[in-house]
Symmetry: C2
């Protein structure tokens, strides 16, 4: 929990940056959104790209900053070295290498700054303020353009040795020549079957219609056959991937966020069947899967909470 004073929190994506002022208890009192063009930073040098990121966040933070702000927490798409705030690497901006995002921003804004992987921030948010509150262990899965994963173990964020833990979206759920190609270059990743973009692509393949995933979920709820087929299939693949995680982690609580949870009544039973079918018998019927409570705010509130995790 945020213990004293307000904090700033930033949730940073490839095209969009959200920056909010957050009170104790996870209440967002003010928020700004700015468009980013981080996908174009690949053309810059490492130093120029780093400076552009720092400047963008710094400028967005200025209007929300005053003497009561105790710090800034950032969720950023990349791999961080433990709790250091140093970005070891970022798949989207490959020239960034050991970029001390937290220190550079702290020098510019004159407040303490923490930074962590965006999917892990979403897990922290949901664990601190949302569906995972009170659960000792939580696997949090974000279904977006890709599929992100974050793990809370014994109430603490689990980063892995290189900040690359819980690459849940790249668990393999299909093998062989027909397995779908994933953005990572491999075939058969769950992300290639159950992310929002995969659902849209798969729906177009069987219906001929290219639709926003939100519309596909609505159609699914209304009983549209093709939409149902794709959502049920995505749920089944998700259940398979969750089973792989449970076989290793043996935890009880999994939380899912992303637009697809709008179709929870179709999604949830189909995930559960697939999950239990893919576990070994003694592990069956021990896992509950919860829909996100915080939804789009999970990452932002997790970033807000970065100051309160023991270093």
């Amino acid at each position: 929990m945020i213990e004293k004073g307000d904090v700033l929190a930033a949730d940073i994506g490839g095209t969009n940056l959200r920056l909010a002022r957050v009170q104790a208890g996870g209440h967002i009192v003010r928020e700004v959104r700015v468009q980013t063009n981080f996908s174009q930073l690949t053309e810059l040098s490492s130093e120029a790209a780093a400076q552009a990121i720092v400047d963008t966040i710094s400028q967005a933070a200025q209007p929300l900053l005053d003497a009561d702000i105790v710090g800034l927490g950032i969720g950023f798409p990349g791999f961080f070295m433990g709790d250091s705030g140093i970005l070891a690497s970022s798949p989207n901006i490959p020239q960034l290498d050991n970029f001390n995002l937290a220190e550079l921003l702290s020098n510019q804004l004159h407040i303490p700054v923490s930074a962590q992987n965006d999917a892990l921030c979403a897990a922290i948010g949901e664990h601190t303020f949302g569906a995972g509150k009170g659960h000792k262990n939580l696997l949090h899965i974000t279904l977006g353009t890709g599929i992100g994963g974050g793990f809370i173990l014994n109430h603490q964020p689990y980063t892995g040795e290189h900040g690359m833990a819980m690459e849940f979206g790249h668990l393999c759920v299909a093998h062989g020549q027909d397995a779908r190609l994933c953005g990572c270059g491999n075939h058969g990743c769950v992300e290639a079957y159950a992310s929002a973009s995969a659902i849209s692509a798969r729906y177009a393949e069987i219906s001929g219609e290219q639709l926003e995933t939100k519309i596909i979920f609505e159609r699914g709820i209304q009983g549209n056959h093709e939409a149902n087929v794709i959502i049920k299939s995505a749920a089944s693949y998700l259940g398979q991937a969750i089973a792989e995680a449970i076989k290793l982690l043996d935890i009880q609580t999994v939380c899912i966020s992303g637009g697809l949870i709008g179709a929870w009544n179709i999604l949830h039973p189909n995930i559960m069947v697939s999950l239990n079918n893919n576990l070994i018998p003694p592990q069956q019927n021990k896992v509950r899967i919860l829909p996100s409570i915080l939804k789009d705010n999970a990452g932002l509130l997790g970033a807000a909470n970065l100051f309160n995790k023991p270093k």
Copy 2:
């Protein structure tokens, strides 16, 4: 490490029980082996089966017991509730249910008793005295009749919420109708491709010869084509399964034990190629796979060390 006095350690399998007296530093000073018939216990009531197990271990321990023994550690094939020594369930003796193995034995032998999952004991042993010594995190994989997994996280055994963590052998490496049937009832588990028994069965399928796996490994080293095909294939499936674990756990060190490591020169390069091919690019070339140093003694020495883990 074992800090003072000698301890007894038991490594219990379905047909064989090893009981040893172990000194500080992991030195085995005396050992007894007795045949067990635990597979026949399924015909007994829960209480009678539990008593038969306690009696068998107790009788084996008597000749090694004296006033200098500070305790007994047991590695047992089943799922334990944390560090309690209570066996929640055992796949091989299904009627056992919340069987307090440690307490019953302690009452009978009048020394402290700890008990834990056998595959986790092997991981503890290899981490404390073997190839994993000094490594903060270690995934240990035992290739036997089945495939067991044990995980040391931040120098501590990782049990999971139900004592069922690291069911590595049941990670899925093949999908579809042709995927091999596993003993757990599912298809496509890595155990169905790379365990000693799977290798023996697969070798028989392509060569027509039913051989002990040890002979198959020797033939592989000598360049026999069919043996090489099967060992390389097993290595490739193992690499796939290890990749799934690394995508989630993001650790650097994996240790493999079991007879197959006798063919390490064939096994290791083929695991590494498959592992790195199946990881996402930023995770590639960060993992080292080590052969067991303790070999058959890993479980026994891990059991000996159960007294020294913080409760």
